[in-house]
Structure formats: C-alpha cells, structure tokens
C-alpha cells in the first residue's frame, strides 16, 4: 500500500529548524528561516552508524582504564568506573552507587544497544510497532545527557580535592574515553532520523 499521508508523499519538506513546510524542488533553503532543506536528515543512517561504532570502540577503554585516582595522606590507588561503584557500596552509599551505576554504565550501554537496534530496524525494514520504536528513540535521546554525571563529578572532585599531600584526586585516562562515548552517542542520537522507522514500514 502506498503511503500518501506523509508530508514527503505530498511533495512537502518540513524544515528541520523552524518546522515550516516548503514545496519540494522549489527551494533548497527554507522560505522562513533560510536553513538548508532535506527530506530526511542527510546521511542519517551512515552518520549514526559511524558515530555508534566509534562509541562502541571507546566504551571499552572507558571501562578498562582508571577513571580517577584518590589519594589520602599519600595512600591511594587508581580505580575504574566499576571500581568506584564497588568502593561506594563498601562505604555504605548504596543509593549513590546505584545512581552512578545507572548513569555511567547502564545508560551508555543501553543507548549503544538501542541505537544499534534502531539502525537494524531501518536497514532490514523490520515491520515493527513504529510508535513504540519512536518512543524508544525519544527515551534514548532524553537520557543521554545524564551520563555526563560522572564527568561533572570528576571535575568537581579534581578541583576541590587538590590539597597536595593531604588529599588529592587526579582524573585518569578513562575520563577522556568516557566523555567521548557520551558525546558520540549524543551526536549519534541527534543524527538518527526517527522518520526512517516510519518510512521502512510497508503500511502505515
């Protein structure tokens, strides 16, 4: 069945920036805000895939390398993201440990997996409940920013606990990798066009 209820099927393009409808082929820039017009986000699939693969690659060093070193009176050793969570559990701060676990490990992982599923769905034209998959995309875009929690926490600890031999926190190399994972997955979510899910459905 031919879908003719979409703007594109009616020969209209929605401007990404201001939402104004423009007739296809008449203009290359939006008549209202002058931004470039595209039927769908340009190279959405390829860009999302590239960003996602980089995200997966950096997720490994982000979890293997130490994210920070806490020294108190000269004693201390570097620990990883997971090590930090274990240390929090040992010092009876379970709620905070859960928060860090969700924000630093589960959210980035579920984001990477969720976006992969969305790409597979578009590529193989899976016939799915598009409304529910769009909902999943919205959740992925919304939660991404909260993974910055660990990065902000490190930045605060590093600047505050800077008392030379008494106590010191030093950021580790995993911090850069982890920050890159967060930024890459945010860009990946931004470059994915949810309209592709709907385009892949044979009947709407």
């Amino acid at each position: 069945m031919k879908k003719n209820n979409t703007a594109l099927a009616q020969g209209l393009i929605r401007c990404h920036d201001c939402g104004c409808l423009n007739k296809i082929f008449s203009e290359t820039n939006c008549s209202r805000c002058d931004s470039h017009l595209h039927q769908r986000l340009p190279y959405s699939f390829q860009r999302t895939l590239a960003l996602l693969l980089s995200g997966f690659a950096l997720y490994i060093p982000a979890n293997l390398f130490p994210i920070m070193t806490v020294t108190q009176l000269g004693i201390g050793e570097p620990h990883t993201i997971l090590g930090g969570i274990v240390a929090l559990i040992h010092s009876d701060m379970l709620p905070i440990a859960m928060l860090v676990l969700v924000a630093s490990i589960l959210v980035p992982l579920l984001k990477l997996l969720g976006l992969s599923l969305l790409l597979l769905c578009v590529y193989f034209r899976w016939q799915v409940n598009a409304k529910r998959w769009t909902q999943m995309y919205r959740i992925i875009s919304f939660v991404g920013r909260w993974s910055m929690l660990d990065i902000f926490m490190i930045s605060i600890l590093v600047s505050l606990v800077n008392l030379g031999g008494v106590a010191q926190v030093i950021a580790g190399s995993a911090a850069t990798a982890f920050a890159a994972v967060v930024v890459l997955t945010m860009f990946a979510a931004k470059s994915f066009d949810p309209r592709l899910i709907w385009d892949a459905q044979d009947e709407a």
């Binding site: 979409t6 929605r14 939402g19 769009t134 909902q135 606990v161 309209r195 385009d199």
Partner: protein, 207 residues
Amino acid sequence: MKTSNYLACPECDLLLHRTFPVAGEKVHCPRCNYLLHNPRANSIARTFSLSLTGLFLLFPANLLPIVGIKVLGNSHDGTLLSGSVTLFNEGMWGVAILVFLSSILFPVLNIVLALLISGHLYFNRANRYLSFWLRALKHIEEWAMLEVYLLGIIVACVKLAAMAELKFGLGLTAFVLLLLVTVMLSGSFDSTLFWQRIEQLNSHEKK
C-alpha cells in the same frame, strides 16, 4: 494547496491540518504521539522576564564559590570554572573543554540568546539575525546541562562528606536558582509562536 494551513510531524512526517490551540492545550501527533504544540500564556513576556532574571543570576553563579572543603585545616573553595581549569592543567584538555562548554558557555549562551530573541519580539523590533539566533538556540539547548551538573555536585558532596568538612557557598544558591530559571525558560518557550512572530516582524520590515 497553501502550505501554511498544514504542518508535518517532525518525528513521523505525518501531514496534518494546522490547529490553533489555546494556552495550556497540548496537541499530540495522532500517529506517533509527538508533542506538536504546547502553547503557554504570555510566552514572550514570560521568556523575556525569565531570561533577564537568568542574566543577573549568571554572575553570582559563575563567580562565587559553589562548594568548599576543609581537610585537616587545609581549606579549598571551588567555583564552576575551577573544575575545567584544574582538568586543563592536568592535561585532560578534552574533558576540560567539554565541562566548560556544557556547564558554562552553553548555559550562558542559552540565557543570552533567549534574552535577545524575546527582547526583540517583546518590543516589536525586527532584526535580520533573529532567525539565526533562534536556530542557534535550538541547537545549543541540548548541550547546556546545568541539571546534570547539580546531580554531579550532590554525588561529589556525598562522596566527600566522609573525608572532609563541606561548606556551601552563596554561589550554590545562585546556581540552583539559575537552574530553576533555565528549566522554567524552556517551559515558557513556544517555538511555533516565536517563529510566527519573527516571520511577521521581518516581513513587515521588508515592506
């Protein structure tokens, strides 16, 4: 077919007849449930006053110390900026830049652009940069992460509470207020209305 009578859902591209909902009436896409319209009463005046409040709060929030610690007689205060400065000096410039952008530069730009746009619309002044500013604001918004930073402060403080004595500065109060203003600002902002008004102002100017 007059395109201004129609609108398309940004997330599923369904073509719909344009409706004109009143303030407080939410309109969702019938196919994918995307929130299409969420008009607010006095959107422009509210955005203008909130961004003006935000502008004043930017100074104490960015300049005054947020949290300080005291360990064995050594005390140390931290501002919003000191985190990125320390990271930068340690050679972690990537993380430092990211923290600087998402906790300082983008929140500041967010407030300044909202003030510029709503100020022009409030006083009915046309400006050829208006649509550029609004486009920039829509892209920046996502990268301003004050609310995540506040959660970061809370987690850091809980971690530190065991090893050091904490003191909370006036900067923290200003920061929390700035965060509230920013959240209210994004709630008061009605993009559909703003784009319509910019179009009216600029077309009026051209005549």
